[in-house]
């Protein structure tokens, strides 16, 4: 009797354990995305039954001054005539890495938004994975897209096809402190002529180092405040590589390129600014808030940034000192100087682009409506809201004369930089490529490796991880 009681107890325990461990499986599961064929058939009747507005979800990565990235399409929905559209805008400020991760996981689960905004370099990766629609059919359908600046279509082209529409672009100038230059003895004419000299290749990275050093020697600039580049990882650094003649991509072979000589010169430049005392030792890793505070406080002579930071500085850092007017009083801006005398200055543009997700990735067949929505988003009325609020360059030909845009002094001043810009390549392996060249650049700048040895190691690492996707020249 006692034995049977014990068995009963054991049996209850076993059953309880199994039930507990199996619990998740018995929860009502979320409906799995239907296979493509089924979705096509099922979606139409469902849409008819609903007969309500088309629900479009737009994801964008944006801070508080960039909210039009997702809110723009929401506003444009009122202008769409072909469809009754209701937009759910989602502005995400978690950082690009997490944002992209979130999208890819959602797309694989069939729960991606209908429209996603991201960097143009995501096109080959997401197109290859089947997450985004080819955009050519949409571009042909609406005349609004004819207004997009022609060269910007290059940034959304991969394997001869168009995969998205640009939303914004920018330049990454070299900013300079006009007051400090004047204190060093520069005349107003010389200061005003600096952008032109950089554009003509008459003021190089070497000249910038010499000027910053002179400022420190004269006691006008504090040691370590002569030149501040971006303090953390980002595309800006590729400008130095390009300034020394580095190439990134061969479109004919669809392969990445690493130019060894330019890589070594770039790494040497990063170390030299520290050794010359114009950039602090152990500078990389400085907090962004400290960086913004310092450059807007007027202590730094030269610094590299992006034009979008102008709005951020005016709104979040110097608003109490006069905002933009205060910035104009002492900040000048020019192209990134070349490393090779005689060559024009350059700037990196990194257009963000709207992409329409595939039916498989979003689980919905709203592509036609998404296209109509993007057509109305790609208008001066909507795009200028974002361009002006966040100081990004416009993407439309008509914006040059659109009053709200043309009247913006800063945007008008930097518009010419688009003639000297370059893009990062649309190649599936560019992400790992960039990570590797960045890792060794940090080692070179921090003095952990000799620049030449760091360049050599970077090339070896690229060959080991990327194999024949990269050409060494």
């Amino acid at each position: 009797m006692q034995v049977s009681k014990r068995f009963l107890l054991l049996a209850v325990l076993i059953v309880a354990a199994l039930v507990l461990t199996a619990c998740p499986a018995q929860q009502p599961a979320a409906p799995a995305p239907a296979p493509a064929e089924e979705k096509g058939e099922a979606a139409a009747p469902a849409a008819e039954e609903a007969a309500g507005p088309v629900e479009i979800v737009v994801w964008a990565e944006a801070n508080n001054v960039e909210h039009w990235r997702a809110d723009g399409p929401a506003k444009a929905a009122e202008m769409v005539e072909d469809f009754d559209i209701n937009v759910t805008p989602v502005n995400d400020d978690a950082g690009w890495g997490d944002y992209k991760k979130k999208f890819t996981l959602a797309a694989d689960a069939g729960e991606a938004p209908d429209i996603v905004l991201s960097g143009h370099e995501d096109i080959p990766v997401w197109a290859n994975a089947g997450y985004i629609e080819e955009f050519g059919w949409c571009r042909e359908k609406y005349p609004e897209f004819d207004d997009v600046i022609d060269s910007l279509w290059d940034s959304v082209t991969w394997k001869g096809k168009i995969w998205g529409v640009p939303q914004d672009t920018e330049a990454r100038p070299m900013f300079f402190n006009k007051k400090l230059l004047a204190e060093m003895g520069w005349s107003q004419e010389e200061i005003d002529a600096l952008p032109e000299k950089i554009k003509a290749g008459e003021f190089t990275l070497d000249d910038m180092i010499a000027t910053a050093k002179e400022g420190i020697d004269k006691g006008v600039v504090e040691p370590g405040f002569g030149y501040w580049h971006r303090p953390r990882k980002g595309g800006d650094y590729i400008q130095y590589y390009a300034a020394y003649g580095g190439r990134l991509y061969d479109p004919e072979q669809d392969k990445l390129i690493v130019t060894k000589d330019a890589l070594e010169k770039w790494y040497a430049f990063q170390r030299r600014v520290v050794e010359e005392g114009i950039t602090p030792e152990n500078y990389i890793g400085t907090e962004w808030s400290i960086w913004h505070d310092t450059v807007t406080s007027g202590k730094v002579l030269f610094w590299n940034g992006g034009i979008w930071q102008w709005a951020d500085w005016a709104t979040n850092y110097v608003a109490d000192q006069g905002g933009e007017e205060y910035l104009f009083s002492f900040v000048g801006y020019a192209l990134q100087p070349t490393g090779i005398p005689g060559r024009p200055g350059i700037t990196l543009s990194h257009p963000l682009v709207y992409m329409i997700t595939t039916e498989e990735a979003s689980g919905k067949s709203n592509q036609e409506a998404a296209c109509a929505l993007l057509a109305k988003t790609t208008t001066p009325e909507i795009n200028t809201l974002h361009a002006v609020d966040s100081t990004h360059l416009g993407i439309l030909k008509s914006q040059a004369t659109y009053p709200d845009y043309a009247n913006n002094r800063f945007l008008s001043d930097v518009l010419y930089m688009l003639d000297y810009n370059f893009y990062q390549p649309n190649h599936v392996m560019y992400g790992p490529y960039f990570d590797i060249v960045w890792d060794f650049m940090v080692k070179a700048e921090n003095g952990e490796m000799d620049p030449a040895a760091a360049a050599e190691a970077a090339v070896q690492q690229l060959q080991a991880e990327l194999g024949d996707a990269v050409i060494v020249e």
């Binding site: 960097g119 994975a129 890793g285 990062q424 960045w438």
Partner: protein, 324 residues
């Protein structure tokens, strides 16, 4: 065992079949209690390891999605083997695990446990509570505090209030002394785990042993060496093994603190960077899975080594006194 059970039963002969049933019945109890843990280990360790190993044999990445991937055999392992960074990152990992473990997770934990059990009880409790603060602070806030402590003048607390008054040239201390900060941030949190385990183990040592040691004229060091340490060998094994495996796979604080820069990339962070977080996208899940598989193998090897070193079999054998 057989003799014991025969002794309490009748002297009737037991048929082989009955004996087998008895054995099965005897096993049912332990099995029932083991089932939840077994299922947990099965579902949350063995099956994920098999899946990770499977993925490591593919070229799965963001650009292939879950539909266009291909089997690539051992290609990802070959890429790890020929990678010039592999040796460096592996040595970094060993350095990180060894220093954090010996200086803090076991070393400091033991020191705190010994000190706080040899002072008045309330005071000991107070100091142990202080050591728990880093663990209960959200990791991002905790690391941010360290960053602002190490930041360059005029922001850094160390520079402003300690080094500059002493005439030491200010700098951004995080890149300058990256490993020190990596070990300190991890160690201040890691020490509290061992501290709790060791404290309870020391306090559960019967007082008779301590009194006997005092009567024999043992000094403090001798009591620690010959009484306390042998008696907490089991918790020591547990904490050392658990913390080694935990450190091998942990990268949260390094990610937040340096993101692997300044030569602080460790193996698990490398796997994370390649599989889940490169700057411009296209996460290399296959390659990252191969890196993670290597880590599982290293962890298994280290667990086996520890068990042999601490003579695990002796620790878990049945007490002889009950077998008589």
């Amino acid at each position: 065992m057989t003799a014991t059970s025969e002794g309490i039963r009748s002297s009737e002969p037991i048929s082989p079949r009955a004996s087998f049933l008895e054995t099965v019945r005897g096993l049912l109890g332990p099995l029932a209690f083991m089932t939840p843990a077994t299922l947990l280990v099965l579902f949350f360790f063995f099956i994920p390891v098999l899946i990770i190993f499977g993925i490591s044999l593919t070229n799965l990445s963001t650009s292939t999605g879950f539909k266009n991937w291909e089997w690539v055999g051992l290609e990802n392992y070959r890429r790890i083997f020929i990678n010039p960074q592999s040796g460096f990152i592996f040595r970094n990992t060993l350095k990180y695990v060894f220093l954090t473990l010996t200086l803090f997770n076991v070393g400091m934990a033991l020191v705190i446990a010994l000190l706080t059990t040899h002072i008045p009880r309330r005071t000991g409790f107070f100091f142990r509570s202080l050591w728990l603060l880093p663990r209960i602070t959200p990791s991002v806030i905790y690391v941010m505090m360290w960053k602002y402590m190490a930041a360059d003048a005029p922001y850094g607390i160390l520079n402003q209030h300690l080094f500059v008054p002493l005439g030491i040239e200010p700098t951004n201390w995080l890149p300058a002394q990256a490993w020190t900060f990596v070990i300190l941030t991890n160690g201040f949190i890691g020490a509290s785990f061992g501290m709790i385990i060791f404290t309870s183990a020391i306090e559960s040592i019967p007082k008779d042993y301590m009194i006997a040691a005092l009567v024999d004229g043992c000094n403090m060091w001798q009591r620690i060496r010959y009484v306390i340490l042998p008696m907490i060998r089991w918790p020591l094994l547990f904490v050392t093994t658990y913390q080694t495996l935990s450190l091998l796979t942990s990268f949260e604080y390094i990610l937040l603190l340096t993101d692997g820069q300044f030569d602080t990339e460790v193996w698990s962070l490398w796997a994370y960077h390649r599989a889940l977080n490169n700057y411009w996208g296209n996460f290399q899940w296959g390659f990252g899975a191969a890196l993670a598989t290597v880590l599982v193998v290293v962890g298994l090897v280290m667990a086996i080594v520890y068990m042999r070193y601490f003579q695990f079999n002796e620790l878990v054998q049945e007490p002889k006194i009950e077998a008589l």
